[in-house]
């Protein structure tokens, strides 16, 4: 997949009908630290792993409040994510100003996707190198979307992006059918368990993860460290009795490398 004569420009097609620069942008998402999202009928929980570069530095902010009813978790180039969050906040404020009502999430993700698409069709631009998990509540219920650098977006019951996200995805795939009717607290616990899957043995502490919730009657907010630590402590004890969750399947290269067959275009995830 890498290093061929069709990958210099984003505006150059390969003979197989692929835009390599866009696919490379999606690789950037896989390099970022993990972010997960899951939803029930009334609540959506976003979580992410915060790894600081060194003990001396603070960790990067990966979860952003966009409006009272929308929040976003990012993986990949966090600078691109910050810029897109500012765009989303602006769109929400302008919509509220004009219509005196909150921007429906489905509208926001389409605008975001169109913005990403522009960067895949201009020779003087590059695609955004960030994947966004957009969590939002509107009249039609609770929604979780994934926006990728290609300009595609999908709605999910639960999803994980970033490095070692396959382990979290496996965990979520086992449990997602129960999420729709989960209580808010159970949803947060499942989010923490999913984050733990991506840590591969490292102890889960509130200092290395961030969790945010939005739901009916609950504006988007990031949970503080004590609350998160309490929830971790509450189920760690149960977790030990269950035994460590399913061994992370050969998570490393297999899925992350992207398919090497010519025929499959990874843009369809």
């Amino acid at each position: 997949m890498f290093r061929n004569q069709y990958d210099t420009d984003v505006t150059t097609w390969s003979p197989a009908g692929r835009l390599f620069q866009v696919e490379y942008a999606m690789e950037a998402v896989k390099q970022g630290s993990a972010a997960i999202g899951l939803r029930s009928k009334t609540h959506i929980v976003l979580g992410c792993v915060n790894k600081a570069n060194s003990e001396l530095s603070s960790h990067q902010k990966k979860i952003f409040k966009v409006d009272d009813h929308i929040g976003v978790a990012i993986a990949g180039l966090t600078a691109d994510g910050r810029v897109l969050s500012r765009y989303m906040r602006n769109e929400c404020i302008n919509y509220s100003f004009t219509y005196e009502s909150p921007l429906p999430v489905g509208r926001l993700v389409v605008q975001l996707a169109d913005k990403a698409q522009v960067c895949t069709q201009r020779s003087w631009k590059r695609p955004y190198g960030v994947g966004l998990l957009v969590a939002g509540l509107d009249e039609s219920g609770a929604h979780l979307y994934y926006n990728c650098p290609s300009g595609n977006y999908f709605e999910y019951q639960a999803f994980a992006i970033g490095s070692r996200s396959q382990a979290a995805k496996t965990y979520l795939e086992r449990r997602f059918e129960n999420f729709a009717d989960s209580s808010r607290d159970d949803l947060v616990k499942d989010a923490l368990m999913a984050i733990r899957e991506t840590l591969q043995g490292e102890t889960l502490k509130s200092s290395i993860c961030t969790v945010a919730v939005v739901g009916v009657g609950e504006p988007f907010h990031i949970l503080d460290l004590e609350t998160v630590q309490q929830m971790i402590d509450a189920f760690e004890i149960v977790g030990e009795q269950e035994g460590p969750a399913a061994e992370p399947d050969a998570a490393a290269a297999a899925d992350q490398g992207g398919s090497t067959e010519e025929g499959v275009a990874p843009m369809d995830i």
Binding site: K65, R86, R89, I93, N94, S96, F97
Partner: protein
């Protein structure tokens, strides 16, 4: 052809009065709830008071369509501030923002006469008074609107402190207790309603102190 005058004005005056009084650890902001045009009453129950931030409240009289637009504009700017600073705007910061917003439309002004009231960063009451294009000043008390010519002299009589240029320096904020300040405001509006036809119906009083924001209503003359 002699110079034509405009036969349509983009402005209207919806009348009403606003008052704000700053205390040592509280601030009282009040306005009547009558909205009129000409000699007609449009409604007896319209709030001229808007909460801009946790500790910052604005009362505006004048053209209520412009007032509404101004309130929406400031609310949107406050949201942006909160996203960028992860905290609420302080009252003095909002005061400067309001001034800049008004002056931005210097050549097609918001027909809005504002008083801003709240607590500053130390929890002391503060009141800012404005003209339509953003000239503002921090004061201990103020009134704006159709009844202000009747109200202001009375407030001067009760609350005016000696000039800050004299020594010893005396505080601009009134030494009155919160309950006394609220009573004074009620008295002032009752008097204004007697002679100002545009002030009356109901009085809305908002009190900000360390415990938060409290709202109170009092009936006024309906004629």
């Amino acid at each position: 052809m002699p110079k034509q005058q405009a036969n349509w004005s983009p402005y209207d005056n919806n009348g009403g009065s606003c008052v704000a009084v700053a205390g040592a650890d509280y601030c009282v902001i009040a306005a009547d709830t009558r909205m009129s045009t000409g000699y007609i009453i449009l409604t007896r129950d319209y709030s001229k008071i808007c909460k801009l931030a946790d500790k910052c409240v604005m009362a505006s009289s004048g053209f209520q369509a412009d007032v509404k637009a101004l309130q929406k504009h400031l609310a949107a700017r406050h949201l942006i501030y909160q996203h960028q600073h992860s905290k609420q705007m302080s009252c003095p910061a909002m005061a400067q923002l309001l001034s800049n917003t008004l002056y931005y439309k210097r050549f097609f002004p918001y027909y809005s006469f504002n008083v801003l009231g709240g607590l500053d960063n130390e929890g002391k009451g503060c009141v800012f008074t404005y003209d339509a294009v953003g000239s503002y000043e921090k004061v201990g008390y103020s009134s704006q609107g159709s009844g202000s010519t009747l109200i202001m002299p009375f407030l001067d009589n009760q609350l005016k402190s000696p000039s800050p240029l004299l020594l010893p320096v005396q505080d601009a904020v009134t030494p009155l207790a919160e309950a006394e300040a609220v009573d004074l405001v009620k008295t002032v509006f009752a008097s204004a309603s007697e002679r100002d036809i545009y002030t009356g119906d109901k009085l809305e009083i908002v009190v900000i102190n360390a415990d938060g924001i409290r709202r109170e209503y009092m009936d006024l003359r309906k004629d």
